[in-house]
């Protein structure tokens, strides 16, 4: 679906957020970008979304053309709903921005809300919903356009553990049902191991891709207690420790010693 070819991003204040990040994301993948805070995970996600442009390297989309508006869904760390609109109108927003009228979009809105289990809360305003329900609305909003690629930037980080676990399971169900590609940013090893088919480890700033670990974990009610899951967490933890201690490569401005 997408190839990231040695992407780099330096901000106006001189911070090198990302350096030489190369990655291949296939159609239907569930990729977790895992790394410490400030390692450039969110920057990488914004580059993929087209919300920012790389200074170095390039993004190559299969087929040549970048996705059209609505083909990329984005779920932010906060639900970022319109506080004056009810759940249905929040879900309707991406369709409205693409010129759809409310009446013709009603079945899609209802289906998106049903997908996240909120069909009975269509008329509820964000302040009437719990944190977990607000995030479900945010996910429904991202899915209502049936995106080919779903980008998620630590969407469950602010939620309590019970809600987070349930939403993680629901997200996996949605991913299997919809067959879309998911790139999921997290700083939780447990979350990355539970969700992703491929875990991409990133180094501290400047963010580089240290290694990729494939997962063949099969999901069931006891997955979080399964030895395979524990072993995967251990493998990723060891790899992350190695990535944290690896020295950054010399930058273009570094003088040889």
């Amino acid at each position: 679906m997408l190839t990231l070819d040695r992407l780099g991003r330096r901000f106006a204040n001189g911070t090198q957020a990302l350096q030489g990040a190369s990655l291949r994301i296939g159609q239907g993948d569930f990729v977790a970008l895992l790394g410490p805070s400030g390692c450039g995970k969110s920057t990488l996600l914004r580059l993929i979304a087209g919300l920012d442009a790389p200074d170095q390297g390039r993004l190559v989309w299969d087929g040549g053309a970048a996705p059209a508006p609505g083909e990329i869904g984005f779920v932010f760390q906060d639900a970022t709903l319109l506080p004056w609109a009810d759940a249905a109108d929040n879900v309707f927003l991406p369709l409205r921005l693409r010129g759809r009228d409310r009446r013709s979009a009603a079945p899609e809105i209802q289906a998106a809300l049903a997908r996240v289990g909120l069909e009975r809360f269509a008329q509820a305003r964000p302040r009437e919903l719990s944190g977990g329900m607000r995030m479900r609305v945010s996910i429904a909003r991202a899915l209502v356009t049936r995106p080919r690629l779903l980008l998620m930037d630590e969407p469950f980080a602010a939620l309590d553990e019970f809600t987070r676990f349930r939403l993680q399971e629901d997200l996996l169900t949605l991913w299997r049902e919809l067959g879309c590609t998911v790139v999921f940013v997290t700083h939780s090893t447990y979350e990355a191991c539970f969700l992703a088919r491929r875990i991409v480890l990133m180094t501290p700033r400047p963010g580089r891709i240290a290694t990729e670990i494939d997962s063949s974990l099969s999901h069931g009610p006891e997955t979080r207690l399964a030895p395979a899951y524990t072993a995967l967490v251990a493998e990723v933890t060891h790899a992350m420790q190695a990535a944290m201690s690896s020295p950054p490569p010399p930058g273009p401005g570094d003088a040889p010693r």
Partner: protein, 250 residues
């Protein structure tokens, strides 16, 4: 009980004031009691109410003009960094220049008394509604702006569906401050203008009564001004409450 507290305090204060005036024997031309002030109003209610209508007319016009100008300028500055750089310092200059220093010039240049006073009141009332609206237009959450971009929203759609709704509570808060300032501006300009006649405002009644040592009439006009200020504030507060309640935010 808490709702009644301001009224109870006012009643207590007025009774205490009347008792103090009567017991001390201070002459009415120095400090009149509340009873004498009500008597001064009742002696010529039509004149007072006509003056009140004149001042309120100026105030209401200034509120509307400052709201329109404030929103338009805030939109222009939000849309264009060049306009922002050009106008921003001058809006501050307008805010910090005392109206009594500008009013004589405005009166000389404009000529028409009503328009002159409205312009002066607008100059005073403009800044809060403008700065609050500008802040509101800039307060759209970055994530939502990103979401709009991702879905191909243009500037107009972003303004209509995101920036303006986000700015509404800011605008309403600024308008409430501007409402009180419009009254202050109207009274200040009326004092400088000093225009006579039946249709002149309450400020002129205060000046006129002061020249004649009719202090009870001065207080009567002042009481009407204070009541007007409270009413304007309450009306704009009710407007804000009604608009925000429809959005589930009040």
């Amino acid at each position: 009980m808490i709702r009644l507290a301001p009224y109870l305090f006012a009643a207590f204060f007025l009774v205490l004031w009347e008792i103090a005036v009567r017991v001390s024997g201070v002459p009415e031309y120095l400090v009149p009691g509340p009873v004498a002030i009500v008597g001064a109003f009742r002696a010529d209610p039509l004149l007072f109410l006509t003056s009140l209508a004149s001042t309120l007319g100026v105030t209401a016009t200034a509120i509307v003009v400052s709201a329109v100008l404030g929103v338009v300028l805030a939109l222009v500055m939000q849309a264009s960094p060049l306009a922002r750089a050009a106008f921003q310092p001058w809006t501050v200059v307008l805010q910090v220049t005392p109206i009594v220093a500008i009013a004589p010039l405005v009166i000389v240049w404009v000529g028409d008394p009503f328009a002159s006073v409205v312009i002066c009141a607008t100059i005073i009332a403009f800044f809060p509604v403008f700065s609050a609206t500008a802040a509101g237009l800039a307060a759209a959450p970055a994530d939502l702006l990103d979401l709009f971009r991702l879905n191909g929203a243009g500037r107009w759609a972003t303004l209509r569906l995101l920036r303006l709704p986000v700015a509404l509570p800011y605008f309403l808060a600024g308008l409430r401050i501007s409402g009180g300032l419009a009254l202050v501006g109207a009274v200040s300009a009326e004092i400088v203008a000093g225009s006579g006649g039946v249709a002149s405002g309450l400020a002129y009644r205060i000046l006129e009564a002061g020249y004649r040592l009719q202090v009870a009439r001065m207080f009567a006009a002042l009481a009407l001004l204070s009541a007007s200020g409270v009413a304007i504030n309450a009306a704009l507060g009710a407007l804000a409450h009604a608009l925000l309640r429809r959005r589930g935010e009040a």
